[in-house]
């Protein structure tokens, strides 16, 4: 088959060049047409009245959105843009769409509440979330297809983050219900956010401290491998709420028995059981990836190192660790994201953290309070994932990158 076209081009169906982009676009448009973009309620506890996209947004706003959708639709087709150009155009149009949706919502809230009672609330609807997530996924997809360097990706992401941050700082969202909740809970929010980070940190530190040597042990002693992974797998299968609950009784007994432990804050509820449970959940991925990382170092490389006269310690630090590091850090990435999510549940046993807002909101049926806990948790997980991904790439030795 020598029809003169690049192999990648030949695979493309003649009608649609980028199925992912088109699917996302259709989903976004359907969502916008059928689902409420925002809701207006007389107070925070009552469910509001739904508002569609064309009602909520000013004509120039939704017409611009429609125009951007048109451009993106052209990007999904084989004509008029060549494949690479289409991806770059997507990288230009999708963030504009995202910012316009964000701005539109804030702008609508500001306008709608101008002559309403101070208890009235505007919150975001399903169509809003769809219109936010679709362009983000379009950007991710375009990056993947372009296969461009990490530096450029990072720069783009940080740039977009700064612009969104500036939107927040400008006060355009202040009228939104979730931001009102934030304003009401500003001090607690900062405290709980920091508690969340502290819980994650206090769990990951010991998990690494214990997990890395255990992973190495699993590599060095095949007999220890089976039982070790058996136990860790068992931890992983216990549902998180059950594990938190199971730890309450023994820890409270321990706290009673040893007053100095109680003085340190160890008791049936609070941070101690949460941290212990998080450590138990984090161990398996850390140990497994550490083991896999070390097992992936070619045996001949290690034999050569021994034959050259390296000591066991030199082999470990100069050969095995550098070659295993990317896999170990991938494990860290998994547990970090996992721990950020699990810490939410820890709020149930009084450990605090962003989960506190979620459960408080669920109790009061105040969805915006739930979101005040959920949205920052998601953002935290995404940011941590992104940063650790960069670390994984950087940790790859120059020769193997």
């Amino acid at each position: 088959m020598t029809d003169g076209r690049a192999p990648e081009e030949r695979r493309i169906s003649p009608v649609i060049a980028n199925r992912v982009l088109l699917t996302l676009l259709v989903a976004a448009l359907l969502g916008a047409a059928l689902l409420p973009f925002a809701a207006m309620a007389p107070n925070r506890l009552m469910s509001g009245q739904s508002v569609g996209v064309t009602t909520a947004l000013l004509p120039w706003q939704w017409l611009s959105l429609a125009a951007l959708a048109g451009v993106l639709a052209l990007c999904a087709l084989p004509r008029p843009f060549p494949a690479r150009a289409a991806r770059w155009v997507t990288l230009g149009a999708a963030p504009l769409w995202l910012l316009l949706v964000l701005y539109g919502l804030g702008d609508y809230a500001t306008r709608a509440l101008q002559d309403a009672s101070s208890a009235a609330r505007v919150s975001q609807g399903a169509a809003f979330w769809i219109l936010v997530f679709c362009p983000v996924l379009m950007i991710v997809d375009a990056f993947q297809r372009l296969n461009i360097g990490l530096a450029l990706r990072g720069l783009y992401t940080v740039g977009l983050g700064v612009v969104i941050g500036a939107l927040f700082a400008s006060g355009i969202f202040d009228a939104l219900s979730i931001m009102r909740e934030y304003a009401n809970n500003r001090d607690t929010f900062t405290a709980e956010f920091l508690t969340h980070l502290r819980l994650v940190g206090l769990a990951l530190g010991p998990a690494l401290l214990v997990g890395l040597p255990l992973g190495l042990l699993a590599r060095r002693r095949p007999t220890a491998r089976g039982p070790l992974f058996g136990v860790l797998n068992f931890f992983q299968t216990i549902p998180s709420i059950a594990l938190f609950a199971l730890l309450v009784a023994p820890l409270s007994a321990l706290g009673e028995a040893l007053p100095w432990l109680k003085a340190l804050g160890v008791g049936g509820i609070g941070a101690a059981p949460a941290i212990i449970a998080l450590i138990m959940y984090s161990l398996l991925p850390v140990v497994r990836n550490t083991y896999a990382g070390f097992a992936g170092v070619p045996a001949t490389t290690i034999e050569a190192a021994r034959g050259m006269g390296m000591t066991s310690r030199q082999i470990l630090w100069r050969v095995e660790v550098p070659l295993a590091l990317p896999v170990i850090l991938s494990g860290l990435r998994i547990v970090t994201v996992q721990a950020i999510g699990l810490t939410v549940v820890a709020a149930l046993i009084g450990a605090g953290g962003l989960g506190a807002f979620i459960f408080q909101g669920l109790g009061q049926y105040a969805i915006d309070l739930v979101l005040l806990g959920a949205v920052p948790t998601i953002a935290l997980a995404v940011v941590a994932d992104f940063l650790l991904q960069i670390l994984v790439v950087l940790s790859k030795p120059a020769g193997t990158r």
């Binding site: 490389t301 050569a304 021994r306 030199q314």
Partner: protein
């Protein structure tokens, strides 16, 4: 000098290496050969103590190797293996510098040594110094592996089937280079292979092992002409024994005077035509059949020999061109003699 005394390795109740004693003198190229599982690799790896010996002694010079700390011992012994085992996260220069680095040589001396070794192995330092192993060809990687083994100027070089994984063409080139480096450095080499042709080409001494026991330890020519028993005979292979022998004979041993521009064709049946500088242009005659006597054969790269060429190759060239004689040329391409089919057939190769 390396001496093995009653070296034995027992796994379970089976002896993988059984009471092997041999001595490889300084500057010798010793080859351990034998079928798979004969214990040749195990023997090699006991020398640098990657495998501990069950019984027996190994002397490196005057030192018993078990008296030295293992790491110090290994830094005195170069080690090259089949899969090369280059460190994938280090550049070529960093790989070569490993042992000098472990020995804490000053940086400038290490850099000099790396350049020196890359030049010795015809590796372009400017191009390859900062390349990583995955960017090298198989032959280049293997050269780097051997250069790395030689980096700290070890007393002894151990090589475990180092050319087993490269294509035959590259293997040939690497063997020639190793011979050249051996002549240049006069290192004591212990080389493991299962390929008899490789052993015959490289070795000054061959140790043939079978089922853990040393069957015969001799110069290559003796192994071929005076095999100790039927196992040796069958391992060498009877089919091309004559050619194998010729692979240990050299053109200069068979070289005769060449007759130039002599009209008396009747006597030899052929004559050489040379230019003013004494470079041969062509040969008249020299064919098997008398009626081809007037046929000219152009002298060129393919149809000529050098004094250092093996007789096996010289014979092959004669056969290929169907000429009974082959010109021997010096460095300048001048005719210094000839080897003939009569000469090959008339001389006892075992002598």
């Amino acid at each position: 000098m390396i001496e093995l005394q009653g070296l034995t390795k027992i796994y379970g109740d089976k002896a993988a290496v059984d009471d092997v004693s041999l001595r490889i003198d300084s500057g010798e190229f010793g080859v351990l050969i034998g079928p798979s599982g004969c214990g040749k690799s195990t023997t090699l790896r006991m020398i640098n103590r990657l495998i501990p010996a069950s019984r027996g002694r190994i002397l490196l010079g005057d030192d018993d190797v078990t008296r030295l700390p293992a790491e110090q011992l290994r830094r005195r012994i170069g080690y090259a293996i089949q899969s090369i085992g280059l460190f994938p996260h280090w550049s070529v220069a960093e790989n070569i510098a490993v042992v000098p680095g472990l020995l804490k040589w000053p940086k400038s001396r290490i850099a000099e040594r790396v350049d020196e070794l890359m030049a010795l192995f015809h590796l372009d330092a400017g191009e390859l110094r900062d390349k990583y192993p995955h960017q090298l060809s198989g032959g280049q990687a293997q050269r780097v592996g051997v250069a790395r083994a030689l980096a700290a100027d070890p007393e002894v070089l151990l090589m475990d089937e180092p050319f087993g994984a490269v294509d035959p063409l590259t293997r040939e080139v690497l063997q020639d280079e190793l011979l050249r480096v051996h002549q240049h450095t006069r290192k004591t080499i212990v080389f493991v292979t299962h390929d008899m042709d490789e052993a015959l080409k490289l070795a000054s001494r061959i140790a043939l092992l079978n089922a853990g026991r040393l069957v015969q330890y001799d110069r290559p020519i003796e192994l071929l002409t005076r095999p100790a028993d039927d196992f040796v005979r069958s391992f060498i292979g009877k089919a091309d024994l004559g050619l194998k022998l010729l692979s240990r004979r050299w053109v200069h041993q068979y070289q005769q005077h060449a007759t130039v521009q002599d009209a008396s064709l009747a006597q030899t049946g052929y004559t050489w035509e040379t230019d003013a500088e004494g470079r041969p242009i062509c040969l008249h005659g020299g064919r098997l059949n008398a009626e081809d006597r007037e046929q000219r054969t152009e002298v060129n790269q393919e149809w000529s020999a050098t004094p250092g060429m093996t007789m096996k190759e010289a014979l092959s060239r004669m056969v290929w061109f169907r000429v009974m004689v082959l010109p021997v040329l010096d460095d300048q391409g001048r005719l210094i003699g000839e080897v003939t089919m009569h000469g090959v057939m008339g001389q006892q190769p075992c002598a």
